[in-house]
């Protein structure tokens, strides 16, 4: 039963932890870039917020999994919730590193700003996979 509850709240909590790490790393990089540049400050702050999306995915998965927890559905909820949460955590944390790198290089050459975001977007894509398939699979967990 406890695992069931962990699976239910896991995507939200782990996604939020990942977002905290990712946003903190990218945010710190953005602060440094503000010191070094005269313009384009808004875009740095915007990139720094990119890893926050994993928290939103976590909330949606949590609502999708939300049901009365029974001994029959607890293992299923735990498996989907915790694995999806871990995927969101790692994707947010590593996306933060990608965003920090994007900020660092686009500070030097603003014209490559769009291209420098590609790695962060690819990481986001994997978070979306984890999110979508968690929703799909959650339909099979007994209510």
């Amino acid at each position: 039963m406890a695992l069931g509850w962990a699976g239910l709240y896991g995507p939200m909590a782990l996604g939020a932890i990942g977002s905290m790490i990712g946003c903190a790393q990218a945010g710190q990089a953005a602060c440094g870039a503000l010191l070094e540049t005269e313009t384009g400050h808004g875009r740095y702050i915007g990139i720094a917020a990119m890893p926050s999306s994993q928290s939103i995915y976590g909330i949606v998965v949590m609502f999708a999994l939300n049901r009365e927890i029974t001994p029959e559905n607890a293992p299923g909820l735990a498996a989907i919730g915790l694995l999806c949460g871990l995927a969101l955590l790692f994707s947010a944390a590593w996306q933060g590193k990608c965003c920090a790198s994007a900020i660092n290089v686009s500070k030097i050459r603003p014209e490559i700003f769009g291209m420098s975001l590609a790695p962060a977007a690819i990481v986001e894509g994997f978070a979306v996979f984890a999110f979508i398939f968690a929703l799909v699979i959650s339909a099979g967990v007994p209510v």
Binding site: Q25, A26, Q28, A29, A30, C31, G32, A33, L35, E36, K97, A100, S101, I103, N104, K107, I108
Partner: protein, 229 residues
């Protein structure tokens, strides 16, 4: 060692060494940014800097044996293996250069030679071979020998600076947002500053030489004297 996201992005971009004509950041501004480092890391940075850019008075006031002894003792205080490798590379270059100069200066016994680094035993073992048997380990050796043969200290300094610069760039690219990356930037900043100062000195020497040549011409000299009168 800590991560320094804010500090790394607050540092300006340094162009290639050959293209460095003006420092993008003064030492005062750099030091202000370096206050973001923890006390322990700042101490490590100072140690690495002192080993990488030894003070000229310290170099001139001590024998090679004393220098090596002091450096060996100080190297034990460097905590990062990555940074230790960078310092060792710099010291190995110095050792190699000193060996080439000592040999061409007439030193006949390798036992009298003092140096530091991985190549020292090989240098002593192959003292009478042109490249100390290091050609395969260090392909740039032939370039150093060619430049040394031209007897142009400024050019030699540039070549050595380029080698150190590339070593630091590679290290910086492998260590994102880390303390090592900060130190590599500071060391590159030091090389760039040395390069610009050297360019300035060279330009001044060239100007003085040209002025001397022009003033040496009787016609111009007379014209200048008339002008003064």
């Amino acid at each position: 060692m800590s991560s320094y996201y804010t500090l790394i992005t607050a540092l300006p971009w340094l162009p290639e060494l050959e293209q460095c004509k003006q420092m993008p950041l003064s030492r005062i501004a750099l030091d202000q940014r370096l206050t973001m480092l923890s006390d322990q890391d700042l101490e490590q940075l100072r140690l690495v800097e002192s080993l990488y850019f030894p003070d000229s008075e310290f170099l001139q006031g001590n024998t090679d044996k004393q220098l090596v002894s002091v450096w060996r003792e100080q190297l034990g205080g460097v905590e990062s293996d990555t940074l230790l490798q960078r310092i060792n590379f710099s010291h190995e270059l110095m050792t190699l250069l000193a060996a080439l100069r000592s040999r061409s200066g007439g030193m006949e016994s390798p036992d009298l030679f003092h140096g530091i680094g991985r190549w020292l035993p090989r240098i002593k073992q192959h003292w009478f071979e042109p490249g100390f048997g290091l050609e395969d380990y260090f392909p740039q050796l032939s370039k150093i020998q060619r430049v040394l043969a031209k007897d142009d200290p400024a050019l030699l300094e540039k070549v050595l600076n380029q080698m150190l610069w590339h070593d630091l760039i590679l290290c910086e690219r492998q260590n994102h947002f880390s303390f090592e990356s900060v130190v590599c930037f500071v060391l590159r900043w030091g090389i760039a500053e040395r390069h610009i100062q050297q360019d300035g000195t060279e330009a001044l020497q060239k100007f003085n030489r040209l002025t001397g040549q022009l003033l040496g011409q009787a016609g111009l000299h007379q014209q200048l004297e008339q002008g003064v009168k």
